[in-house]
Symmetry: C2
Subunit: 167 residues, 2 copies
């Protein structure tokens, strides 16, 4: 979390008013700015909760993905598709998880191009304790009831579908 005190007003809302007067589609700008800012808040909360466990949200997500997979292992390109990450980001994340002995890299039996990532027992343990830490803080998402959380998911899923995120 950036170390500053809360403002006595909403800077996004104030900017929107100025936009309205001077520029144009203030509502869209406000929504976009809100998403950017909320993401930043959640990222900070989540990373703070994970820091004592030596993880970031990106690495945590990778561990969860592996735990969910049948064999506890997946090819790197599959991880990239599921996590919606650039191949180089997957390399980066797996590098760090491997350095922490939470995953292993192995060759694919038939396709020598692909690298298979397997979660270790330590990785499974780490994922469990990290999950407790995250659920304890509700993933940083506070101030919404169940209904509103569901609404938010519906709206954002609509955006993702429109953006061609999935079909």
């Amino acid at each position: 979390m950036p170390s500053h005190h809360p403002l006595p007003f909403d800077p996004i809302d104030r900017a929107a008013q100025l936009w309205q007067d001077r520029i144009g589609p203030a509502a869209t700008m406000a929504a976009v700015t809100n998403i950017m800012r909320v993401q930043q808040i959640l990222q900070s909360s989540v990373d703070a909760a994970l820091r004592p466990h030596g993880l970031t949200f990106a690495r945590y997500e990778a561990l969860v993905l592996l735990v969910f997979s049948r064999q506890g292992s997946l090819p790197m390109n599959m991880m990239g598709q599921r996590l919606q990450l650039h191949p180089t980001s997957v390399t980066n994340i797996v590098d760090r998880l491997q350095a922490d002995h939470l995953v292993e890299r192995n060759g694919h039996p038939t396709d020598r191009r692909t690298t298979v990532v397997t979660i270790t027992e330590a990785g499974r343990q780490r994922q469990k304790t990290a999950t407790v830490a995250l659920t304890d803080i509700d993933f940083g998402l506070i101030g919404l009831n169940d209904d509103e959380t569901a609404q938010l998911t519906v709206l954002l899923t609509k955006v993702r579908r429109s953006a061609g995120d999935f079909s």
Copy 2:
């Protein structure tokens, strides 16, 4: 935008189903993951639109803030408060804007600690053309009507207020 083809299913929704079965508060996790992903999509769209103009969204926001200010200038710490950025991020952004001759750094007349950032004429021009590029793509936010966009803003503002972002 990460260079991969869209999946035939929603990976966030699928993960939520697995959470439901095995872990717990799947709804919250899904909402958080959605925010993270939508932010990423918007960031990519917006940055792509700004790249031809030599700007990023972070730098664009800083320019807009300065344009909105009365004298076209603000102390750096004020910029950090309004943009909700860490002081070091402000330093970083102003460095790059200054290298592009879009802003200037000057000393404060009475407080020699503070640095005042002033937008240049070139900066004002750049902001105008960049704004056209952004409004042309609706800031990357597509798939929602005006009503839904407003709903989204209401929900996210609630989250920010609960997180102590403003009061």
